[in-house]
Amino acid sequence: MKRFMIPLFLFVVLLGFLAWGLKPGYDPHEVPSPLIGKPAPAFLLKQVDSNAADFSPEQMKGKVWLLNVWSSWCVSCREEHPVLLSLSKTGAVPIYGLNYKEVRGDGGFKEPDVETPESNAAELALGRRRAEAWLSQHGNPYVLTAMDITGRVGIDYGVYGVPETYVIDKAGIIRYKRIGPVTQESLEKKILPLVKELEKS
């Protein structure tokens, strides 16, 4: 009897591991962010709205907010957009956009070999036009959107695929990072309860 129990036991252990690998919503490519529990990296970026002042996360001290990384060329962003739109209408938490490499991320654009103030201004202008067009077509859930034209801020935030969403608390600490599109389920199960809890403190 013992003879059969050992392989059976090993098989059950193996089954356990396999079941764990198949659990719904588990993505083996997801890289856990080391930024959770750390201050949101500082930046100062131009906004989509060319008349608005530059945006920095410093300005958000004392508020719980979402930072949503998006782009007009990002396909999954279209998937999460209706969710963000309905969230913005409830007013549960303000959503701020970080537009990631609007022009460069699009395969058709060739980066200039040497960046000049003129080439940068032209790229920013083109990026603003594209971002604005996208927002007016799909709706704008964002309080404002900052333009990360070069993707340098994205690197500081450890962005490796758009869309990504960060929950940032009143002290400016990153509390949660959602990789991939925000779904109604992830919103109700994780993001909104967390926001509520952070609001209390």
């Binding site: 890289v31 080391p34 991320g105 993707g151 690197i155 500081d156 935030y157 490796y160 695929g161």
Partner: protein, 169 residues
């Protein structure tokens, strides 16, 4: 020489050689891939040890993903700024975690990863030693209980049969 053709084999060969030289002279010297070879070498050495976040089966140095290109540029800039290899490594780990490193660092959470195989080896050796000891003890006690060995009764029968054979000779 063949009368039908105005050209001999020599002339044709000469023409070939001439054409060959002409094509060779068109080839330009390979353009250097980067302005600064030292920086490039260090960048490749560092990024060879890192995983690309987008295509996770590729190294950062070999990936064509856009993010990999951006990160390589970032590493190049840091090298030019005079940052050390460990500073650059820390920059990457602070943003993407230990996941970017192909060689995981030794720390409390990775002890099992580093020493796990040795644990398995030790366990296997224990099982083997235990088995050999028990087997040895059984053999010392006599044939009883050892698989494939003959019992006293069987031994007697075998001896008797052998004797019969010998008696017939």
């Amino acid at each position: 020489m063949n009368k039908a053709s105005p050209f001999g084999i020599r002339q044709i060969l000469a023409l070939f050689l001439l054409l060959l030289i002409a094509t060779l002279s068109l080839a330009k010297e390979a353009a250097p891939l980067a302005e600064d070879e030292v920086v490039e070498k260090r960048m490749v050495a560092i990024s060879d040890e890192m995983r690309c976040l987008v295509c996770q089966n590729e190294s950062l140095s070999g990936s064509h993903a856009e993010l990999a290109q951006d990160l390589r540029r970032e590493i190049r800039t840091m090298i030019k700024e005079g940052k050390s290899d460990s500073e650059i490594k820390a920059f990457m780990v602070n943003r993407y975690g230990d996941f970017v490193l192909y060689r995981p660092p030794m720390k409390a959470t990775t002890y099992l990863l580093w020493f796990g195989p040795f644990l398995f080896l030790a366990a296997a050796i224990l099982v083997l030693v235990n088995y050999l000891r028990r087997r040895g003890a059984r053999l010392d006690q006599g044939a009883e209980g050892v698989e494939g060995a003959l019992s006293a009764q069987e031994q007697q029968r075998a001896d008797a049969l052998l004797k019969q054979v010998e008696a017939k000779r």
